[in-house]
């Protein structure tokens, strides 16, 4: 088992940091899956601890200048590591202004991801900061717990309004109630509502669009076509923990070109962030009354 990678470009280092910090804000610890082409950040929370799932994938070639890996075996050429987000964030903090960052899987007294950060230096001698972040290597037989969650059979798929706007609204609603009902229809309309003994508040977003998905669960480009059948007017809704939603809105530091919200009526909400080559899926389960 071997892994080493090198980030050189400042933009790449910052982009990578933003992705990691986004995930770290959503989950305390998560799984990093390393394959020859892609890196994945995975969280699969049990129902008792909130039931959140995250699936984030990025193409390594867009980040790393050098990238070498050998998995557990030739047949299963992958590595699964359990990491604590906070530790990895601390390591990346010193990489803010780095010239390059080497990431390496090492064996100290425990398996570690070693971040070797080369900082700019005025003299000939180089300045390096090395962080050893302890990790747990996940055994082959447990891998199946971390497979990509299937695309839910959603009732409604809708593009989200600008997240900044949404964040303001959710920030206020958070002070009123612990739950928010998110509903949407096939007519480009989305509502957020909270209800308490004292007040009920509903924010209506209109003129959004509904993406079209093909049979393989892939996004099709002709996304501005709004079906006009009677079905599209009906709202499907999901009641979720407002804190989890708010964490997602506040925590995400990527600049996604598209954010899609898929609602399975009274079951789950599936957020899908797409930024160029990068995608992040976030599942929030419904909390029923």
């Amino acid at each position: 088992m071997r892994f080493r990678g090198r980030l050189v470009d400042v933009a790449c280092i910052q982009h990578f940091t933003r992705v990691v910090s986004t995930i770290s804000k959503l989950a305390k610890n998560y799984v990093l899956r390393i394959t020859p082409d892609k890196l994945y950040f995975i969280l699969n929370d049990s129902v008792t601890s909130g039931g959140i799932s995250i699936w984030c994938e990025m193409i390594q070639a867009n980040f790393f200048d050098e990238y070498n890996m050998d998995g557990v075996s030739a047949e299963f050429n992958e590595i699964y590591l359990d990491i604590i987000g906070e530790n990895i964030m601390r390591a990346l903090k010193s990489a803010q202004s780095a010239k390059s960052v080497k990431v390496k899987l090492t064996k100290k007294h425990t398996p570690c991801l070693t971040f070797d950060v080369q900082l700019p230096s005025l003299s000939v001698s180089s300045r390096n900061v090395v962080h050893d972040v302890p990790v747990n290597v996940i055994a082959r037989r447990l891998w199946e717990d971390y497979q990509e969650p299937p695309m839910p059979e959603f009732d409604i798929s809708i593009y989200m309004p600008p997240l900044r706007l949404l964040r303001n609204v959710i920030d206020r609603m958070k002070n009123l109630s612990s739950y928010v009902i998110l509903s949407g229809n096939g007519n480009g309309e989305m509502n957020l509502s909270v209800e308490t003994d004292m007040v009920s508040v509903t924010t209506h977003f209109r003129d959004l669009s509904n993406p079209t998905w093909n049979k393989d669960g892939e996004l099709e480009e002709s996304q501005y076509e709004i079906s006009q059948d009677g079905q599209s007017q009906n709202f499907v809704s999901a009641r979720i923990d407002i804190k989890k939603f708010s964490n997602f809105l506040i925590g995400q530091q990527m600049n996604p070109s598209k954010v899609i919200c898929n609602i399975v009526h009274n079951k789950v909400i599936h957020f899908f962030l797409i930024q160029d080559d990068l995608s992040l899926q976030y599942f929030i389960p419904v909390i029923s009354l």
Binding site: L165, V169, N175, L176, D197, M198, V199, H204
Partner: protein, 282 residues
Amino acid sequence: MSLSTQQGDEDGQYVLIAKLDNARNMSNILKAIHFKEMATVFATANGIKVTVEDSKCIQANSFLQAGIFQEFILREESATFKIDITVLLECLNIFGSSTLPGATTALKMCYGGYGSPLILWLEEGGVLTDCTIKTLEPDEVLDFNFSSTNVINKIIMKSECLKEAFSELDMTSEVLEILMSPDKPYLRLSTFGNAGSTHADYPKDSDMVESFQCTQTQTNRYKLSLLKPSVKALTLSNKISIRTDCRGFLSLQYMIRNDDGQICFVEYYCSPDEELDENDDR
């Protein structure tokens, strides 16, 4: 704008209809008196008065005169109800309290009369929010019986010079002592805390003082914990009028200029801190 799409005939059922192009004008004034959860709203043809009280010793009023609203209709002589002001403020700021130029929240507020909820429609950038806030049985508000004929000392000054003194008040002191006098030291604010006493003196001929009408020396103490919330009003205001009457009651009136240049008023009344053995026979 979406707000205008609300049908006119639907409006007929409401006792009170008020429209505001910039909801911040209302939320700012309400923030100045937001030190308790519950507020009493009292609407007349002149506008809306919102009152918050604490401990039967302090009362704060915000006046939203009819003129600051783009439309103000009241179908009855008056309307009064109690409302959770914390919730009301959250609703008014639902689109965030940022001060981005050009992004203002339009507001339409309706009340259907005794027992009905207060309904707010807010709109910003094509996004609409509707809020239904329950109203409660109004409480009797205190009458401090503060009449201008009984006023002994009155000072009008720019708020600026008081802001610093008030924001740095020694909170370990139980009381704030206000001395107003026609002679030196004219206006003195004192606290008596764990670390010692502080005095802040203001001369009467400073540029900051606009009007100085003190007839006799008066020294009164007020519970600092009760007066502390008035800092919110002070920081928003341009001018302040400090008055005391013959019983030592304190009236603080704040002149607040909103984003659109309109003038609004907030006032605080506070009763003096009496010694326990004295009989309060007012």
